[in-house]
Amino acid sequence: MIENILINGLIHGGVYALLAIGFSLIFGVARIVNIAHTAFYMIAAYFIYTFSTRMGLHPLLAILLSVVIVTLIGMGVYQLSIKPIQEHEITVLIITIAVAMVFQETVLLIYGGHFRGNPGLLTGFLEIFGVRVSYQHLLTLIVVLFVLLITWWILLRTRLGIAIRATAQDREVANLMGMNVHRIAMITMAIAVMMAAIGGVLIAPLSVVEPYMWLHPLVMVLAIVVLGGLGSIKGSLIGAFILGFTETLVVFLLPLGAFLKGAFSLMIMIVVLLLRPEGLFGVAFEEER
């Protein structure tokens, strides 16, 4: 039981972290609430389905192709439909909703509303203390943690990472330090979409691939970034694991209330906001400009 909670919590938390960190980065760097963020995750899952199940490519090649294509799509969307009207924050919001709708409808048109599954790289399971854990889960866990570590390293240790974080915290000062905020926003968009795509590719074998699979993660990601504090990367990471574990715990400990896991996570978010209106690691608003 505890092992299960641990592994499931880590996987959920990890995938949410992949999505939430990207969302948070874009929000910080470009001040965009990107509703389409998890839609990238959805189309990545469809790409991997197409490449591996339909076309029978080697799984690793399929993964690589899916991530690269989705990243390019993400950059295209930013360049064509977000950048031109970036200053109208609320209009950008609608555009991103519409972009998500476009993705969803395109997928629906091509694949229909069928629930698709994708085979994992590995089958079989490992028995740890009498608890069965599938290899696919373990693999996913390792990859998620690995990607998170790489992201962490990029953000913390490289020149680009420092520029991204600086821009996320204060665009104006970053500009003053000689950082080309527009270019950094573009790079950030690419990184964020790539993380979402990796999340989608990883989740495809564990879950159902369907055109609406972006909605629940979207709500969760929004809850996570608010919980952790908008624009705070540390907050997103910790928030993701808090809510990932909350979901898992609710499922395990309240068998009758498993359908409440979404509502539960959101209530946690609201309670945190009541105590700390700027989220766990957010900057109090008087400070920001």
């Binding site: 970036q86 200053e87 109208h88 020149r159 420092i162 520029a163 974080r165 600086a166 915290q169 204060d170 104006e172 000062v173 970053a174 500009n175 003053l176 330090m177 000689g178 950082m179 080309n180 905020v181 705070s232 990367i233 540390k234 690691f281 900057v283 400070e287």
Partner: protein, 249 residues
Amino acid sequence: MLLEVHHLSVCYDTAMILNDLSLSVGEQELVSVAGPNGAGKTTMLRAISGLVRWEKEILRGSRYGDITIEGRVHFSGERIDQLPAHEIAERGLLLCPERRRPFREMTVIENLMAGAYLLKDKEAIKEHLLTVFRLFPVLKERSRQVSGTLSGGEQQMLAIGRALMSRPKLLCIDEPSTGLAPLLRKEVFQKISEVRDSGIPVLLVEQEVSTVFKMANRNYVLSSGKIIAEGTAQELLQDEVLRKTYLGL
């Protein structure tokens, strides 16, 4: 002259913040600009460093109305008022903004590295870091601390240090003494004159006239977006009207 500002005017919608302002800063100089609240001191620095243009671009077409900028700014003989802020920084004009604004979630050392963004040479970065640490030993002590938790004085040192990391040709500092205790103010001003002495000219905007005028080579007095007086500390402080009305002495 290193920096020359000619007839600069800035309007936010219909409100005129700067009105035909001209000033200049020479090599090796520390120049101060003083004036009452709302005189347009901060806007002047933001206009020179390219932030007003940036703001104009961001607010374009929104309901907050348009920003208009007129006039010319020359830096090392090159016209820079049409350049975006990050390119102005690339040319060596750095602004240390009002209220210090460190990258709060990042540590002191990361803040300094962010300041060194324009440099690609690792050796040069190391060298500049040593220089900054020599100037502000306190930053070395706190280098692993998250900057949001520093005291106000330390944050000010960090902000100046961050701007110095890219070895600017001109450092503009906006109101460094705000919210600091008198003792700390003195220390900050001391550091700023050390910066000038190390060969980096400084354009300093400050309300705390008594200290600044003495240490600056030349001073300007700004009111309602216009330069109303210019000169050394002695010249300006002799003028009774100026002292009473504009400098509050």
